[in-house]
């Protein structure tokens, strides 16, 4: 076979395995997350939660409802813009990680949105149970814990998986200490455990795409 002659002369199984590992790693690297949605949503929620916290602490009406409506609309607009941009890029390969990643955040984001909407909007309707809105932070933290844990495993990033543990630890604190300060804790957690991971993913993405384009 044409290539085998030269291949056999210098053939070392170790090199061959190393070569295969490198190609697989390079291919997978082209599917690395760019972290942008983490940063956008993180900032949106951090701003909204900070306004809510300040409003609750100072007992002043800071138009919290309108602030949230504006922020959520802004969040959705940026996500739609992001998705359109992603679609414009020629996606020349599809990976299982891509699909899993979409499924994780789609399922968790949907659950989170539904929980927040139901607890804050319909709790006094009909036979719906009364849950103090402060517990939306607890529920959100639990769901974000699941999303980060699974996302870390799907991307083979231990630090991202450990962010899930941080969210679960935060959820425990929020459940056991349900005061107004939970809003502040949640705003801080969103910055540290959502925006910062997004920035790290963004830097990693830039680094890997630069390395791959040089290769």
């Amino acid at each position: 076979m044409e290539n085998n002659i030269s291949l056999q002369e210098s053939f070392r199984p170790e090199d061959e395995l190393q070569y295969i590992r490198k190609i697989i790693a390079d291919s997978r690297a082209s599917f690395v997350e760019d972290g942008k949605p983490y940063i956008w949503w993180g900032l949106v929620v951090a701003v909204g939660m900070s306004v809510t916290y300040i409003s609750a602490l100072t007992n002043r009406d800071l138009y919290v409802g309108y602030v949230w409506i504006g922020l959520v609309l802004f969040g959705f607009a940026t996500i739609i813009y992001y998705m359109i941009q992603q679609k414009k890029q020629v996606k020349r390969a599809q990976s299982f990680i891509d699909r899993i990643q979409g499924a994780i955040w789609g399922a968790c984001g949907g659950s989170l949105g539904l929980a927040v909407l139901l607890i804050n909007t319909f709790q006094h309707t009909g036979d719906a149970p009364t849950i103090h809105p402060i517990y939306t932070c607890f529920v959100s933290s639990l769901i974000l814990g699941i999303a980060y844990f699974l996302s870390g495993i799907a991307n083979d990033l231990n630090w991202l998986r450990n962010v899930g543990f941080a969210w679960w630890a935060g959820a425990i604190v929020m459940y056991l200490w349900p005061t107004v300060h939970v809003l502040g804790i949640y705003a801080g957690m969103i910055l540290v455990f959502q925006v910062v991971p997004g920035i790290i993913l963004q830097r990693r993405y830039r680094l890997l795409t630069a390395v791959l384009s040089e290769a």
Binding site: M1, E2, N3, N4, L7, Q8, F11, P13, E14, E16, L17, Y19, I20, I23, I24, D26, S27, R28, S30, F31, R92, A93, Q94, S95, F96, R99
Partner: protein, 98 residues
């Protein structure tokens, strides 16, 4: 197995470019021809020839279609190809093992 018993290795895969094609395809669901070309660094002609060999061995399925009036060739590893690649890796690892 003897350390240098090449007869034990699948001849279809045991070529630098075909091995690279298989390695790229095992890490994705499917990939376009241009993606493979970039990842492997082969010329169009060379890549086509090696893809044809993998297709003939039924290790890879190649689909040609038009997307936005442009021809797009998509390659995917078949079940047979996946098994053959896994066996190839197993044999390489067996050679490395003391």
């Amino acid at each position: 197995m003897n350390d240098f018993d090449y007869q034990q290795l699948d001849e279809v895969i045991h070529s630098r470019i075909r091995l690279a094609i298989m390695a790229v395809l095992i890490s994705v669901d499917e990939a376009e021809f241009t993606f493979l070309r970039e990842r492997i660094g082969a010329t169009d002609g060379n890549l086509s020839v090696h893809l044809k060999k993998l297709e003939e061995a039924e290790y890879v399925t190649v689909t040609k279609q038009f997307v936005a009036k442009k021809p797009v060739t998509t390659c995917k590893l078949s079940k047979k190809g996946r098994k053959a690649f896994e066996l190839y890796i197993d044999r390489l690892e067996a050679m490395v093992r003391p």
